[in-house]
């Protein structure tokens, strides 16, 4: 108790300096937490992907379509339980800044393949019955104030024209990490229109979503599907949903690397600031440490006092930073929900914040401890006079 009292009293002997250092650590931890959460948000789709879902796309590129006729052939592959399909619709609601992901999809299968999208049964039925029906995620519905029965018009960017939809369902995620911003509607609605306006684009899909019996059979199923369409007009690449999602991330890998790097640089900078504070502190207290040594306090005691003080300052800053990370992440996530549909501060981020705080406290204390331990008492006492 006595030692703890000394630690706190020492830590706040220079209130302004300590407060500024604590503020610095708070901001650094907050920035670190937010940047790590951004990285986490980047990978949210990957993390949420299922091991029992495969994606088959055109081997050349995702922008090339696959014939709808592949569906039945894929269904015949042993291990396949379900086959659905989707198109990236790329519709714009009023303005391009109102971005949200929207897909034309095989409605029935899509609902079955994505159990993490929870839709009330009556809404599911209403959606399946209405050719113009659409299901939208809770966040997007809240964002635009959409309610069931509302008519929403999207302007097609890939498929020109104004497309009208009726909101028949609003899904919520089974987990916190489930994307609640998606909008999907019947592929048949799109296809029927295309048959009239652009027949050459009809009966084609962007990718097939395949449900498999178990994760163990997924590699064999993928090989079998791709083998089946080898040397066809539209060769395929089949991969796990995770690999499919990662292929998108890899396009922006450099950004993720930079964000990761910056998050660590922030910690290194605050480490230097903290080390400076501790160095100044110990230098000012050289005489006191010499006195304590004369009283019989050894190197371990002095080290404990210096490390403890460093830990107190770092812990206060770290705790404040962590506490602020949650509301900041919420505000950040809300304002950028179109880019980061899932923006959750992960538990691992908090552990990393704590580890960063501990590392900062330790590194900042190392040199001052060394100086205090190697200090000759006579030299220390001379500085007092």
């Amino acid at each position: 108790m006595f030692i703890l009292k000394i630690l706190f009293k020492n830590a706040f002997r220079h209130k302004l300096r300590t407060s500024l250092t604590v503020l610095g650590i708070t901001i650094a931890v907050l920035a670190f937490g937010l940047l790590r959460t951004v990285v986490g948000a980047w990978y949210a789709g990957v993390e949420a992907s299922s091991a029992t879902r495969l994606v088959t796309r055109n081997a050349v590129s995702l922008v090339f379509f696959l014939p709808i006729s592949y569906k039945e052939k894929i269904r015949q592959v042993p291990g396949v339980t379900e086959v659905g399909y989707s198109d990236w619709f790329g519709g714009v609601y009023k303005d391009e800044k109102n971005f949200f992901p929207n897909f034309a999809t095989d409605a029935k299968t899509a609902i079955d393949l994505f159990p993490e999208f929870i839709i009330p049964p009556d809404q599911k039925t209403a959606f399946l019955r209405d050719r113009k029906g659409a299901v939208v995620g809770r966040k997007t519905a809240e964002r635009f104030g959409w309610k069931l029965g509302d008519i929403v018009t999207l302007k097609g960017s890939i498929f020109p024209g104004n497309w009208e939809f009726v909101i028949r369902g609003i899904y919520r995620g089974a987990q916190k990490s489930t994307d609640e911003t998606q909008f999907f509607f019947h592929w048949s609605y799109l296809n029927e229109s295309l048959k009239k306006t652009a027949p050459y684009r009809a009966d084609k899909v962007g990718w097939f979503l395949i449900g498999v019996k178990s994760p163990d059979v997924a590699p064999d199923v993928a090989v079998a599907i791709d083998k089946m369409f080898k040397n066809s007009l539209a060769e395929t690449i089949t991969e796990t949903e995770k690999a499919f999602q990662l292929s998108f991330i890899s396009m922006t890998e450099a950004i993720v690397v930079v964000i990761r790097l910056v998050s660590f640089i922030v910690i290194v900078i605050i480490m230097a600031v903290m080390a400076n504070t501790m160095a100044m502190t110990v230098r000012e207290r050289t005489g006191e440490y010499a006195i304590m040594k004369t009283l019989g306090f050894g190197g371990w005691h002095i080290s404990g006092l210096i490390f403890g003080e460093s830990l107190v300052i770092s812990a206060i800053g770290c705790a404040s930073g962590i506490a602020l990370t949650f509301p900041a992440a919420k505000a950040f996530g809300d304002s950028l929900s179109q880019f980061f549909p899932v923006f959750i501060v992960a538990r691992s981020t908090i552990y990393m914040d704590m580890a960063a705080g501990l590392i900062v406290a330790t590194v900042a204390a190392v040199f001052p401890i060394w100086r205090a331990i190697t200090l000759r008492i006579a030299d220390g006492l001379r500085r007092i006079g």
Binding site: R13, G296, F297, L381, I384, G385
Partner: protein, 235 residues
Amino acid sequence: MENKAPIVEVRNIYKSYRRGTQTVPVLDDITFDIEEGEFLALMGPSGSGKSTLLNLIAGIDKADSGTITVGGIEITSLSETELAGWRATNVGFIFQFYNLIPVLTAFENVELPLLLTGLSRSGRREHVDLALRAVSLSDRADHYPSQLSGGQQQRVAIARAIITDPTILVADEPTGDLDRYSAEEILDLMERLVHELGKTVIMVTHDPRAAGKAHIIKHLEKGVLNSDVHSENTL
């Protein structure tokens, strides 16, 4: 004065400092004894080596050669860690600038050395109360050093010095930063420690009045010990 066994034996002590490439001799073949319960004053001009000698006896500096034995323990052969443990129980320090920890109250400053003992909290409290009473500062126990006068701070420092009941008390210019009245108070207190508690005190001072309180005055000149002067205060 009755003949007592020496509690401090200083034998052939040499000490020098390095200043750049030069070696500056500070103490040259110092040999003397201090008997238990003796009040010894070390005097001499600045740079004569008196503080260095005090530091060597107190085990906070190392001699180049020679031996120092305190209470039967040859401290010159102890390691740094052993010396720290030895100081904690055998030496009480009184400094010119009091050297109290500013963020601790008078009570806590006095309690500080007891943290190295196995005493319980209530045991420590008992000892601190006793020590503060001995220096007539019981009513200032909760005051911080900045709330005390120089003389009071020095009394707290004395209480801290005697709290572990050390073998010797070393005082480096204990009155150097005090006015005449406070200095007199401190010297009286130190005299009482010698006479009433039988403490052995070794004091470095420039002040002849302070030295006058000692039993024996030793003069150092350029690192060499001159003949002793027995004070009028000699028992």
